[in-house]
């Protein structure tokens, strides 16, 4: 029954939406589907033990529940947001857009549920394909370019992951399956050379999906051109799903006693992502692209945590939760800004965001959005008391405790540079004076585009500041999967 609501219902509704003409009806269908999905997910949080096995292919563990929670809450927030958002975009066809989003919810749920590495691959590939048409919502040359790059780079990445999955199967000749349970239980019997090859391919493949440098090049383009709700879902939920895949790979490594092999790879990718993000955030002229690079940064922190191991694994999971909601919040804010200014430009110079006015003085023109812009900045930049501050600190602590001072230095340097670049842009946007020659326009805020911001802020308070017991337990259990 739960499976039908979680997996089947969004998919079925996606098909139904395709044949519905009325906008109002489509929005109601979307909202009710995500609400049901969220309620079902919440019912699983309360249950103990968290491990549920539906059949050989599908089941829950603590990590699945954690990621499913992110996906479900973000979709719920976005479904409210869409009521206001689509009202401003009434002249555009949204049939494919909403259908794809609903099916995407199904695909992401499948990612979290799958207990078979082949099925995991299928789910991630499906999610990739379904997110591509929704990037192309505005149907202009820029968004087509972004869609093409996203599609091509992700497809190559996911193809490499398929190759990695096959190598994993080759290394598992004695057990003859790639069910996660069987592989974890018999990890010692896997053939080491094929397993190592498989791990490299899987990390590169799923790392592309997650947007780790140097495979991140699609990210600023896709996030820059996608409509805001899609950006929120991709940077919050889809990267979470890719992180889950990377986490599964790490699980296999740890069971096969290959920690020493995999942790330098993760540390290298993590620091590289942080470095690239630092370089490109500085002096960025396009707000959404900057958020794309910020996502690269946070994905880097996640794998850095996995690479450091020990207490950093807990921090990494905690970071994944908080980053997802923070990204959701700030992307929806970006959507409000775009709908009012019809521009993503944040600096006077030309550059890719040429055209349109420069976003300035948000706090005066759009008070509510401005408030959440500042709030989102506080969360993402890692100010206390929010969760991201805490998890970044824990990862720093782990690096210091294991006496890897080079990592400590680089980590600190990159984070400071990113903080500087970020605050320069956002403070200018929020408090700066609008240019004199800009024609004064009447800006308005729809209540439905403010409510989800409030919901996400509320969730952020509970995921980072007043952490409820069940979330603690869930993260503890999930990090115990890696012995953290």
């Amino acid at each position: 029954m739960e499976l039908i609501v979680l997996l089947g219902l969004p998919f079925f509704m996606g098909m139904v939406v395709f044949f519905v003409n009325q906008d109002r009806f489509k929005k109601i269908l979307f909202l009710s589907t995500t609400s049901l999905h969220l309620l079902t997910t919440m019912s699983f949080w309360q249950r103990k033990p968290h491990d549920v096995q539906f059949n050989a292919f599908l089941g829950f563990d603590a990590l699945s529940l954690l990621i499913l929670g992110l996906v479900s809450i973000l979709f719920f927030a976005v479904s409210i947001y869409l009521i206001g958002f689509l009202k401003e975009e009434e002249h555009r066809s949204n049939r494919i857009f909403i259908a794809c989003l609903l099916c995407l919810l199904s695909a992401m749920t499948l990612v979290t549920l799958s207990r078979h590495m082949g099925l995991l691959w299928i789910a991630i590939e499906t999610a990739t394909l379904l997110s591509a048409p929704s990037i192309n919502f505005y149907r202009n040359p820029r968004s087509i370019e972004a869609t093409w790059k996203y599609l091509l780079i992700s497809s190559i990445g996911v193809a490499l992951a398929l190759l990695g999955t096959l190598f994993l199967g080759v290394s598992a000749t004695t057990i003859k399956t790639v069910f996660l349970e069987n592989i974890l239980n018999n990890a010692a019997s896997l053939s080491p050379s094929w397993l190592k090859l498989s791990i490299i391919f899987l990390i590169v493949g799923y790392g592309t999906k997650m947007g780790l440098a140097p495979m991140h090049t699609w990210k600023p383009d896709a996030y820059g051109e996608a409509p805001a709700p899609v950006g929120a879902i991709m940077s919050g939920a889809l990267t979470g799903c890719a992180f889950l895949a990377i986490f599964r790979v790490t699980q296999i490594c740890f069971h096969a006693h290959l920690e020493k092999f995999v942790s330098p790879i993760f540390i290298l990718l993590g620091l590289l992502s942080l470095g690239i993000a630092a370089i490109f955030i500085l002096g960025q002229k396009d707000f959404n692209r900057m958020l794309g690079y910020s996502s690269v940064e946070h994905m880097g922190i996640l794998v850095l945590g996995l690479g450091l191991g020990g207490g950093a694994i807990w921090a990494s999971l905690f970071h994944a939760v908080n980053n997802a909601f923070a990204k959701g919040l700030i992307f929806l804010v970006a959507g409000n800004l775009y709908q009012n200014f019809r521009s993503k430009k944040v600096s006077a110079e030309g550059g890719p965001a040429a055209g349109g006015e420069i976003i300035r003085g948000v706090i005066h023109q759009l008070p509510a959005t401005g408030l959440f812009l500042i709030l989102g900045f506080i969360v993402i930049a890692g100010f206390p008391p929010f969760g991201i501050f805490y998890s970044e600190l824990l990862i720093l602590k782990e690096a210091i405790l294991t006496q890897r001072y080079m990592i400590v230095f680089l980590y600190f340097l990159f984070l400071s540079v990113i903080f500087w670049g970020f605050s320069e842009v956002i403070l200018g946007m929020a408090f700066g004076k609008p240019a004199d020659n800009a024609p004064p326009k009447i800006k308005k805020e729809n209540i439905f585009t403010i409510i989800p911001l409030a919901i996400l802020t509320f969730v952020l308070l509970f995921s980072g500041v007043f952490v409820p017991q069940f979330l603690y337990d869930l993260i503890n259990e999930a990090s115990a999967l890696l012995g953290g």
Binding site: L129, N136, P141, R142, T147, W148, V170, L197, D221, P352
Partner: protein, 209 residues
Amino acid sequence: MWLELALILIVFLGVIILGNNRLGTIIQIFALQSFVLSTTPLLIYPGLHAVAIMIVTIILKVILMPSLLFWAMRHVSIRWEVQPLIGYGKTLILGGFLMSVAFLISSKLELPAKEISNLLIPSAFSVVMMGFLLLVSRFKAITQVIGYLVMENGIFLFALLLLEKTPLLVEMGILLDIFVGVLVMGIVVNHINREFGSGSTINLTNLKD
């Protein structure tokens, strides 16, 4: 014996794709390559499982995908690749070089199970790398999609090693996913054609830092 012949044919057709510049011919050769590919499961493990895979592969890779690609390029006025990033001669030499790399890598990797054919892993690696080469060296969106598909054909060869072990359901899912991938790509190619006037990705340079 027949298996080796099929494998050699698959690699050979890959080389022909690398050296060709007419889009229509490339699609047809790809369809031929996929057809040869679809017979290989039957040559290794004769049985119902292999027949099922063969039928689905033929329907998807030999019939549907090529027709989809022909549909996507119906409006393109220029039906051949103009000025590839790497010239055709050089691409062929590079392809040959990659083939030798494939044999070198395969000789280092020991198969834990009994060997099906000595040629299987090297040819799989070769086809994957040829597809990748096609993907990075050409500008036409259609050729890039074919590069991706050739890469997938190579991955299919690897999957033969595991044919006994993977459930049919998972295999069908993978094939279907690849098909949907090509469907989406075809639609985007169509958009590129309409928006930019030619199916060339040279024009896609608006987004950069």
